[in-house]
């Protein structure tokens, strides 16, 4: 099985779908000859042509809005935001037009919106955000966030084939850092959680880049041999509530980890779910680790102070294990 980076796995999934289905095309700023800001579509224009690897005007509302129009007449657009942060400029088209369309009119909008998200390398307040919670709060959108190359490909394939608008968060800090075996050919990964590591003493619930932070922080040698389960959500909408509650039943102690700002984050929803439906299984308070509610600062010491890191997660787990 070939070993690919997370970035290569995204490209691979997109390429497979474009080869298999002529309705699929990619559109965004600088995705054509330049191959995209992060090179996800590098070389695509040579294989698929400029029509299907479409360089668009610098207009995020336009990218999402025209994708909706193309989708309702039978296409399967894959939109690239250059950075996840810029989806703010396309928010209205995504939330009000795409998200509400099927409920209101019975008309499906099969679009995928790729959001290169996350911080960790001095991107500053406009190139580091994790905006997934905005879209979890908007009915009619599915939201997925892979953490491994295998899932990056499988979830993208599933997203493109889904008859609904899917927000696909690809974490920039994983692009070239994380490698793994990825099956050749085409496969789908369901919008469900997976256990990244089995454990019995405590559960860390995470997604995206934070899965790797959680795995590192809770390796057995880090926590005096404690057995920590890491649950990788993979999908935020739909949220795999059964998998979360099953893990809580098993370990009775939970740390919920977000890279996003804490208030109303995905992890807040997970914590609420556990409070409501897993209370009897708990053997300690639900502990949250997330970015405080400030923009992500630029300078490395400031950014490190804000983004949840291995030490913070380890400390939270150590405290909860001792509870």
């Amino acid at each position: 099985m070939p070993t690919l980076t997370y970035l290569q796995a995204i490209s691979d999934g997109l390429r497979e779908e474009m080869r298999a289905d002529e309705r699929v095309f990619v559109m965004g700023e600088d995705v054509g000859v330049f191959g995209g800001a992060f090179k996800v579509t590098d070389g695509f224009v040579d294989e698929f042509g400029a029509d299907r690897v479409m360089d668009t005007p610098l207009a995020e509302s336009g990218i999402v809005g025209t994708a909706v129009g193309a989708a309702v007449v039978g296409m399967r657009p894959v939109c690239e935001m250059q950075f996840a942060d810029f989806i703010a400029c396309g928010f209205d088209q995504l939330v009000n037009v795409a998200g509400k369309m099927h409920y209101r009119q019975g008309l499906a909008v099969p679009i995928t919106v790729r959001l290169p998200s996350g911080g960790g390398f001095s991107g500053g307040p406009f190139h580091s955000q994790n905006p997934e919670a905005w879209f979890m709060h908007a009915p009619g959108l599915k939201v997925v966030a892979p953490s491994t190359p295998e899932d990056a490909k499988g979830l993208l394939t599933k997203a493109i084939r889904d008859p609904n608008p899917v927000v696909y968060l690809e974490h920039k800090h994983l692009y070239r850092r994380i490698k793994g075996e990825v099956a050749a050919g085409s496969y789908e990964t369901d919008f469900t959680a997976r256990i990244a590591r089995e454990g019995t003493d405590l559960t860390v619930v995470a997604y995206g880049a934070m899965v790797h932070t959680a795995l590192e922080a809770t390796a057995p040698e880090q926590l005096d041999g404690a057995s920590v389960e890491v649950l990788d959500l993979r999908s935020l909408v739909p949220l795999d509530e059964a998998a979360i509650l099953a893990s809580v039943r098993k370990t009775s102690k939970v740390v919920v980890l977000d890279e996003a700002n804490a208030t109303c984050a995905a992890g807040a929803q997970v914590a609420a779910l556990i409070a409501e439906h897993g209370f009897e299984d708990l053997d300690g308070p639900v502990v949250r680790v997330a970015a405080p509610d400030v923009p992500i600062p630029f300078s490395p010491p400031l950014e490190q102070a804000v983004l949840p890191g291995v030490d913070r997660v380890k400390e939270a787990c150590r405290d909860l294990l001792a509870y």
Binding site: R52, S61, G69, V72, G74, V97, P110, N164
Partner: protein
């Protein structure tokens, strides 16, 4: 209060638009306008009886815009329809009974009670309903046209929008995008002089048609109260679109004769302005034109026919059930993606359209 009303053709010298309309077409145009007028009159009285929840928006005085524009579109074309464009739904074939049920939030309305008033589009007739954020649908129509061009299809998309919409970014993004990609899309600007209470003089400093030219696309202003003139402008725009000539902005100059919605007494509109436009009522203009034909059309009979349809539709809609509250959570996500279907295209200029038309 200044507005940018431009002179339009006089009512007495009813202009004749030559060429592409048969007698039956011209009657069909009047029928569509009458359907809109009488359906909205009925809906307004249902609203006053408390049978229409929320608010009620109508297009009284603007019937020629949606009737004329939709009439120029082919079955395989696609439309994004706004809140003062009921005649476009009628032309595409949406049944009056479903329209009235829509207003009343019934289970048999086009959105099955999920959305209100004219926020609907019949997906099986090639139409997408508006959202309240204007003019979002300009980008959606642009995207439809983008797909047609990608697939090499000779089809066009059309969207309506208002004078207030020209201030928002999506207007500019859509005009620019459609121009850059030379897309087969028609933007019909319904300049009805007011965005809620705001006159056009507070909305833009440049003639909207000049803006179209500035973006590199064709633009034309047309008498929005003359249904045949609107038809002709959109017909030409569509011809250009499907021939690869790119987008067109058609400005239909008209007047909103009622308030923004039923609650709005419109005290901000000068009475003499309304009076001036009342003399150019679009339904009466077309009726006068047809009465003046060498073989005059019996407009009264046509009106009675449409009124009977509206009466029957009212009874059916009133008898229809309200939606079951147990279904409120259903249909958020699609199980499969079925693209928009084709609509009715009654214009005789479309081959094979005759069978779909009631008139001979």
């Amino acid at each position: 209060m200044a507005t940018t009303v431009r002179p339009a053709a006089a009512a007495d010298g009813v202009p004749d638009v030559p060429g592409h309309l048969t007698r039956a077409d011209r009657i069909e145009l009047l029928r569509a306008m009458l359907s809109m007028r009488l359906l909205e009159e009925r809906a307004m009285s249902l609203y006053r009886q408390g049978r229409v929840p929320g608010s009620f928006y109508d297009g009284f005085g603007q019937e020629a815009v949606s009737a004329g524009a939709a009439f120029a579109m082919a079955a395989e074309d696609r439309l994004c329809i706004l809140h003062r464009d009921l005649a476009a739904h009628v032309v595409r074939g949406v049944e009056p009974e479903r329209i009235l049920a829509q207003y009343m939030g019934r289970a048999t309305g086009v959105t099955r009670g999920r959305d209100g008033n004219v926020h609907f589009g019949d997906k099986d007739r090639g139409c997408v309903g508006m959202v309240s954020m204007l003019p979002d649908m300009m980008l959606v129509a642009t995207g439809m046209a983008m797909a047609f061009k990608l697939r090499g299809e000779a089809r066009a998309a059309l969207t309506f929008f208002g004078d207030g919409s020209t201030s928002r970014g999506d207007f500019h993004e859509a005009l620019n995008w459609a121009a850059v990609q030379r897309l087969p899309v028609i933007f019909v600007l319904e300049n009805n002089q007011y965005a809620y209470s705001t006159p056009t003089a507070l909305q833009f400093a440049v003639d909207p048609v000049e803006r179209a030219h500035a973006y590199g696309i064709a633009g034309a202003s047309v008498d929005g109260n003359d249904v045949e003139a609107v038809f002709e402008a959109v017909r030409v725009a569509r011809e250009r679109a499907v021939a690869g000539g790119g987008p067109t902005l058609v400005e239909a100059v008209t007047m909103r004769m009622h308030g923004h919605a039923a609650h709005d007494d419109m005290r901000y509109v000068p009475a003499e302005l309304l009076e001036r436009w009342r003399e150019r009522d679009p339904v009466e203009l077309q009726a006068a034109r047809l009465r003046a034909l060498p073989d005059p059309v019996d407009v009264d009979a046509l009106r009675a026919e449409v009124q009977a349809e509206v009466d029957a539709a009212t009874q059916a809609a009133l008898a229809a059930p309200m939606p079951d509250p147990a279904t409120a959570l259903e249909g958020l996500f699609a199980e499969e993606a079925v693209p928009l279907g084709d609509g009715r295209a009654p214009w005789s200029g479309f081959a094979g359209a005759d069978a779909a038309r009631g008139e001979g």
